[in-house]
Symmetry: C2
Amino acid sequence: MADTKTFHHGDLKRVLFSAAMKLLDQHGAGGVTIRAVARAAGVSHGAPVNHYKDRRALLTAIARHQFELIRTRIDRALEKAGNDPKIRARVFAEILMDFGFEFPHRYQLLWRSDLIDHEDPHLLTIMDAVYDQLCEEIAAIPSRVKIDKDTIAVSLWSMVHGYVDMRLSGMFVPLNDELSGQPRREAMLDLFFSTLN
Amino acid sequence: MADTKTFHHGDLKRVLFSAAMKLLDQHGAGGVTIRAVARAAGVSHGAPVNHYKDRRALLTAIARHQFELIRTRIDRALEKAGNDPKIRARVFAEILMDFGFEFPHRYQLLWRSDLIDHEDPHLLTIMDAVYDQLCEEIAAIPSRVKIDKDTIAVSLWSMVHGYVDMRLSGMFVPLNDELSGQPRREAMLDLFFSTLN
DNA sequence: TAGTCAATATAGACACTGTCAATATCGCAG
DNA sequence: CTGCGATATTGACAGTGTCTATATTGACTA
């Protein structure tokens, strides 16, 4: 008896959300305007304010949802990943890259601090959860050399994010992203994990 | 007799450019509107079109200029960097990070393909030049293992960009970015270059 | 010197945008 | 049936980018 299915429209909040997602995937964050979302949902331009305080709130909700989706994907992949912590840490990287190339506009939104609220508690929580999960796997890697675990985690995530982000901006594309059949991303991860021996 | 110092205002193009830079540094790319730039330059909102076709053209010009500044900084730093190619490649990373943290809004603009034209020939040229310079240093590193040079270059730049970009979005800040006095960025670079032995 | 003309600047319009305030409507509690 | 809170509509306001028509400037030419 809490929230769903009441009042005028039905469940406008959900409709607004999915309309916004569609606009995001199609036209990027710039296409997700309050008014366009309202149009797509078939309501007036003033209606959304009852469910999302402003544009930033709507986009922040979407970002939160994406991180939850990422975590779900990671969890599912880890179930089938065996026990080698190096392979498990690598799964993390693969999932993030897959997500970035599959949903470029969603991925780019995640880091747009001018559009979303990175102080949002829900968002902070889920981001921390993903980061902590990575750290757990990293910590389980047996390593001869003593390297700070956070440094490894930050390095890996940085490399992954940097690669996806730059590729989505059109960089490294002239490099063809292929070398002798193996995607470059695999070669990068090979290189990274070879460090940890 | 070519371009500078003519007509009505004097050299409005330069004035527009530096007004835009000031707005960028102060308020981010979102604050760089054609009309705000025109206001800051003391001309009407329609004046800029004579010098920059549209907002995208103005921002692209700024991006181009920033990459040229980065290349200049790299060149200068390389002059004092000695002959060890590993140190020279590292200089590249240090300069990029310095620039990113010194001018966060300028740095973020460089990768906003919704705001600037990454197909612009001038921009492509200067970006390629910076990348090629990195590759040269990488190629000079003697390595036991045979690793594709582009993979190393892409990995390094990706890690550097990813770290700066995520930090500027507020991530990794709770980690304090310090570990035992040494900045994390140095630890990351240590880790990266330890791979190439 | 007078006149022409391209380069440059202005002013106004149009269609957008986010956000706010006033108003209207719905559906449930009493 | 009566409220009343939650929700939706409408209109307004100040912005924005970009286009068009108009005005001004300065240099070159006859």
